[in-house]
Every structure is written in structure tokens, then in C-alpha cells.
Amino acid sequence: MFVKRIVGTGLGSQQCVNQIGYEDMPTTECEYQLRIPSETDNLELIRDFVSKVAEKVGFKSDDVGKIELACDEACTNVMKHAYASGQKNGKESLDILIQIDYDKFTLVVTDHGRGFDPDAIKLPDMKEYLAQLKVGGLGIYLMKTLMDEVDYQMQPGVRNQVKMVKYFIDKKNSKLIESEKENK
């Protein structure tokens, strides 16, 4: 059994996208949440949830695919590593929170397992990695490649979070728009 909770604040997805640049926009327009057992059998459900929300707020197919895969990688890491196998009691869950702001889509994956030291994570040198046909460690590399921002907040045994952001428009273009607004 799993608990699924979807919360919408009532603002439409098109509003989220079309009102880019409005100065009086609230910080967060919509939130969607899913709590689900930390089992790989649930990856498809998680991907469906995340991709449906990404489609709803206006991302094109390519970006929906990137968000879906980045979420899969983050959740797979939790399922494989967050809970030591000897400590599992079958009740481990993970939470997925999606926040829609006027300019960005934020995906937060939270678990209560043992976490890890984010400073110890080194992105693989892909040239060397591929030359030696090394196996594993691709998930974090893909997350950082697919999303605009990836950030970790670890409190082992209490709460570990991976936060990933995808902007609705290219970040450089956003800065240009901000710059143009300031110059007016």
C-alpha cells in the first residue's frame, strides 16, 4: 500500500508559464506531492507522476524526458543506497515534492535513510570513465547533466534531500530578460 497525495493550489499551469516576468507573482504557485514506498517496482509510478506534472505546466517533450530521467536517477539512488539492507523494515518511503514557480520547476526527493556526504561525490571524468568502461556512478552525472541545478541537504537518519531545478526558459535568457527589465 502507498499513500499518494496530490495538492494543487488552484492556479492553472498555463498561468504559471505565461506570467513569466510579472513582478507581483507569488514565490510558489503550485505544489504536488507523492509519498511512496522506497522500492524500485514503484519507479514507473513515480515517473508517471513527475512527467504528468511537467507536461501540465508546459514543458516540451524533450524537457519532460529529462525531468523524468533525473527523477528516476535520484529515486533509484535512494532505493539502492539510502537504507542499508540490514536496516530495512519494509516501511521505508520517499517523498517527492514538485514546486512550480513562475520561472522554474523544482523537484525535491526526500528520504530518511543514512544519506551520504555530498562533498565526497565527484563527477566522473566521462572520457576516462568510458575509456575504461567503468560501471556505476552514472546516475548523479546524468542528474547534473539533465537539470539546471542539483543540490543536496543531508541529515543522515533524519532527512536527506536532493533538490533539482529546471527553468522554464534558458537560464541565460532569463538573465537577459532581467537585465532588460532593469534597463527600462
Binding site: L43, D62, T76
Partner: protein, 94 residues
């Protein structure tokens, strides 16, 4: 749903969505591959790094005997995943 079928020629046809939940099932097939083999992605909709790792392990094992996997009929999304991971440089993709 993920499925692997092997035809009479030994070609592997993948279908569905290949993620971490399917690694054990996939290894039952890929562990038996000992010579160069065609892997047809025509009906595969999705792959994550877990699926890529299964392919990489097999490719690594085969390359020691100068054999390889030959991947074909990938959809555009899967081609993109291979490109993001740099895997387009280590597999023969038709």
C-alpha cells in the same frame, strides 16, 4: 512493463521501460551473451542509467574477446540519453 525476446538468429528485442527494477530480469539474458549480438531497441520506450549499466557490463565483457553489442532502432529520447551519458561513443548504434 519490460520484456526481452530473443529470435532464432540470437538478436535481442527489448520492449517497454528498462529501469532499476528490471536489472535482475535483464541480466538473465545479457549474462548469456558471449558473441557479438544485435540488440533491437525498436519497442523500447525508456532507459535509465540502470539499464545503461547492464549494457555497459556486457559490452565490457564482450570487448575482452573482441566482440560487441550492436544497438539499433533507438527512438530519439533514448538516443539523447546515450548522448548525454557519452555512450554513443562506445557502442555501435545503427
Amino acid at each position: 512493463m519490460f520484456e526481452i525476446k530473443v529470435n532464432e538468429a540470437g538478436d535481442m528485442l527489448l520492449s517497454g521501460r528498462f529501469d532499476a527494477s528490471q536489472v535482475g530480469y535483464a541480466n538473465q539474458f545479457f549474462d548469456k551473451v558471449i558473441t557479438s549480438t544485435v540488440v533491437d531497441f525498436k519497442e523500447l520506450d525508456y532507459i535509465s542509467s540502470a539499464g545503461l549499466s547492464v549494457l555497459l557490463v556486457t559490452q565490457k565483457r564482450l570487448s575482452e574477446k573482441n566482440q560487441q553489442l550492436k544497438l539499433m532502432n533507438m527512438n530519439r529520447h533514448i538516443q539523447d540519453v546515450f548522448r548525454y551519458a557519452g555512450f554513443d561513443k562506445i557502442f555501435v548504434i545503427a
